[in-house]
Each structure stands twice: as structure tokens, then as C-alpha cells.
């Protein structure tokens, strides 16, 4: 009995081992993936920093929060040239893929979305201004975003700079959808400065205008590089 059971377990193991193999195994992710993981970790930490700033702002007022923050060890340093350049390059690259960069307010409340094939959850984003323009992206007003994500993965309500592009198809009720890039969600501090995840895993801030200029330059440089 035990032998038969053991033999069956062996058979199932062999069967699964065969099913686990594919002739077209892709290469292992490398340093690029690690960099993505590091950015993802930095964004989570950055979200926590932004959340703390927002909570403090509600209690004590935005201006005093930023003035007091260094004393509490919560100072967000000014972004280094390298941090700004690498962020601008990523955002500029997204711009060449049709994404526009907008600032605005993420509203509380998840909206269930399903296109019949995939399911997801989305949120409303009130655009208050364009940082870097792209075709089809409104310069102001509420839009419905889309990305395959769980409600728990949505950013917290608050002010952000987001990459948006017009989705190929609208929601089932005809409402236009705007795809956001979940890897580039930049919180905006109460003083209007944008928080960036930097390569060292830390967080730094930059003014909106400075970010706009850097991304526009990076987008245009990348465009020239490709055409040349």
C-alpha cells in the first residue's frame, strides 16, 4: 500500500516536472529588473513620507509642516542633478510612448472596472494642470484612469503627478479611460514640490517648473537621438 502510494506520488511529481518545463524559457531578469524593484521600493517609502506629510499638514497647516519637518527628521532633500536627470529621462521616454504628464488630485473611492476579459479597479483623478502635454489628455477636469490593479494597490488620495495616456477603448458605459503608469506616480508635497524616488533608495523633491523643463529637455533629446 505504502509502495503504491509512493509510486503514485513519484508519478505525479514526474508529471508536474514535465509540465513545468517549456522549450522557450526566457532569460532571467537582470540588473534592470533589480533597478525597477529598487524604484518600486523607493516609491512605497516615498508614499509613506507623502502620507505622513499630508497627515501632518491636516493637523498643523502645510507651511508649518514643511518648516518643522527637518526638526522631526522628515526633511525631504532637494533632488540632486542625477536624480532629476534619471527621473526626467524615464518620464521623457514615456512621453515618446504617448504618455502626458499631468498634475492633479487623486480622489478617494475605487471604481470597479471590467472589460469582459480582464478585471480591475480604478480611481478618479482631477487634473489641475499639464506638466508635459500629450495628445488626447485633457488639461483640466476629472478623468477616469485605468490600470490592471487591485484597490489595495491604488495610491492614497492626495496630490500627484501622473503619466496618463488615452486608453484604446473606453469603459463599458462609454466613459473615456486614461491609462496611468503605476511605476511613475509622484506625490506632490503641500508646498507644491514634487517628490522623486532617487537611485539610492531615498526621496528628494523638485519644483514643478524644474521638473517640466527637465522632462521636456529629456524628451526632446531622446527624440533627436532616435532620429539621428
Amino acid at each position: 500500500m505504502t509502495d503504491r502510494r509512493h509510486s503514485e506520488e513519484e508519478r505525479i511529481h514526474r508529471l508536474l516536472a514535465v509540465a513545468a518545463e517549456r522549450p522557450d524559457s526566457p532569460a532571467a531578469p537582470g540588473a534592470d529588473f533589480t533597478a525597477r524593484a529598487r524604484r518600486s521600493l523607493a516609491r512605497r517609502r516615498l508614499g509613506a513620507v507623502a502620507g505622513a506629510v499630508v497627515v501632518c499638514a491636516g493637523a498643523a497647516g502645510a507651511v508649518s509642516v514643511l518648516r518643522d519637518a527637518p526638526a522631526r527628521g522628515e526633511e525631504v532633500p532637494v533632488a540632486s542633478a542625477e536624480c532629476l536627470r534619471s527621473t526626467a529621462e524615464r518620464l521623457g521616454e514615456a512621453g515618446r510612448r504617448g504618455f502626458g504628464l499631468v498634475q492633479g488630485e487623486l480622489r478617494a473611492g475605487a471604481i470597479d472596472t471590467s472589460d469582459g476579459i480582464t478585471e480591475g479597479s480604478t480611481f478618479r483623478f482631477e487634473i489641475t494642470g499639464t506638466v508635459v502635454q500629450a495628445g488626447g489628455i485633457p488639461s483640466s477636469g476629472p478623468v477616469l484612469t485605468w490600470y490592471e490593479a487591485l484597490e489595495s494597490q491604488h495610491p492614497d488620495p492626495g496630490r500627484y503627478v501622473l503619466l496618463l495616456s488615452e486608453a484604446e477603448s473606453p469603459a463599458t458605459d462609454g466613459t473615456p479611460l486614461y491609462l496611468y503608469d503605476p511605476h511613475e506616480i509622484l506625490p506632490v508635497a503641500p508646498d507644491g514640490r514634487v517628490l522623486l524616488p532617487c537611485g539610492d533608495g531615498g526621496t528628494a523633491s523638485v519644483g514643478m517648473e524644474q521638473l517640466r523643463t527637465a522632462v521636456t529637455d529629456a524628451k526632446s533629446l531622446a527624440g533627436k537621438g532616435n532620429s539621428g
Binding site: I12, H13, L15, A17, A20, A37, R38, S40, S121
Partner: protein, 171 residues
């Protein structure tokens, strides 16, 4: 510090990604969903790297994460509709082609609810004990046992186990 973490994590992926991906294929039935699941679990492993501590624990952590994502995050893309592959109905008795057998088994795996699939993979592919599986899934040993029994029944009903049994006798 960061560079040490990055180097260790990149080295872990280089060494263990094929193995992680094999588990992901069994959990998802293969295809791009397997890579999505493996990579999401790897991102989470990177975040927890300071807690994982040892390289040999990293694969177990990633595997546990994949299983929990599969069972609990029902709305993620690894549960999206899978494009139909051209699969044989069942593996032919005596069929020597591992690819056809693999396709047939993956097709049957997709018939199983995710929790049963997870138990089957952990019990018979990774050969974890019922107690260990209960720990991974956060359920009782009895639940693991009944899920394993139901999964095996489906494998038998679909004729996959019989086919392999025949192969074994021939070999």
C-alpha cells in the same frame, strides 16, 4: 548597503529564476501569466530582502508569495483569461513527447481551482508536508488534505494519471 542588496538579489534571480518560473508555470498554467506572477513575487521578495537574510531562503519566500498571490489576489492578471493553446485532449498512452504531456497536464491544472492547484504543486512538485502547506496557505491540515484529494481526483478523471502510469509500466 543598497548595492549589496542589489547584487545579492540580481545573483539570486540569475541562479533561481528558471526554478521560480517553473513553479509559476504550474500555478498559472504557463504563458505570460507565469512570468507576471513570478516577477510580482520577485518584486515583493526584493522589498523583504532584509528579512529574508539568506539566499537559500529567498526562493522559498518567492514561492510562498506566488502561491498567496495566486490564491488571494483573484483579480490580478495571472487570473486573466488564457488564450487557448492547441492542446491534445489528454496525453496519449505511451506518448514519448514530453511537450505534449506537459501541455496536457497544464491544461488539466487549469481546470483546478487556484487553491487546489497550489496544494497539488506544493505537495507533489515541491514535496512539502501537509503541515508546511497549511502554513503557506494559512489553512488547516485537513483542508490541505481534502484539496489534495480533490485535485488528484480531477487528474484521474482527466486521464492524465492513467497515461503516466502506462508510460511507467512501459519504461
Amino acid at each position: 548597503m543598497r548595492s549589496g542588496r542589489d547584487e545579492a538579489f540580481t545573483a539570486f534571480m540569475a541562479a533561481r529564476y528558471p526554478s521560480v518560473l517553473r513553479t509559476a508555470r504550474l500555478l498559472t498554467g504557463g504563458g505570460p501569466q507565469a512570468e507576471d506572477l513570478a516577477q510580482e513575487a520577485l518584486l515583493r521578495s526584493y522589498r523583504a530582502w532584509h528579512r529574508i537574510g539568506r539566499l537559500d531562503a529567498a526562493e522559498a519566500y518567492t514561492r510562498t508569495t506566488m502561491v498567496r498571490l495566486l490564491v488571494k489576489d483573484r483579480r490580478r492578471k495571472w487570473h486573466a483569461e488564457i488564450p487557448a493553446e492547441r492542446l491534445p485532449e489528454v496525453a496519449e498512452p505511451g506518448h514519448e513527447d514530453g511537450t505534449a504531456t506537459g501541455l496536457a497536464v497544464r491544461k488539466v491544472l487549469l481546470l483546478l481551482p487556484p487553491a487546489q492547484r497550489a496544494v497539488l504543486v506544493l505537495r507533489y512538485y515541491h514535496q512539502l508536508s501537509e503541515e508546511e502547506i497549511a502554513g503557506v496557505l494559512g489553512c488547516s491540515r485537513g483542508t490541505v488534505k481534502s484539496r489534495a484529494a480533490r485535485a488528484l481526483a480531477t487528474l484521474r478523471e482527466q486521464g492524465v494519471l492513467a497515461a503516466v502510469s502506462h508510460d511507467t509500466e512501459r519504461g
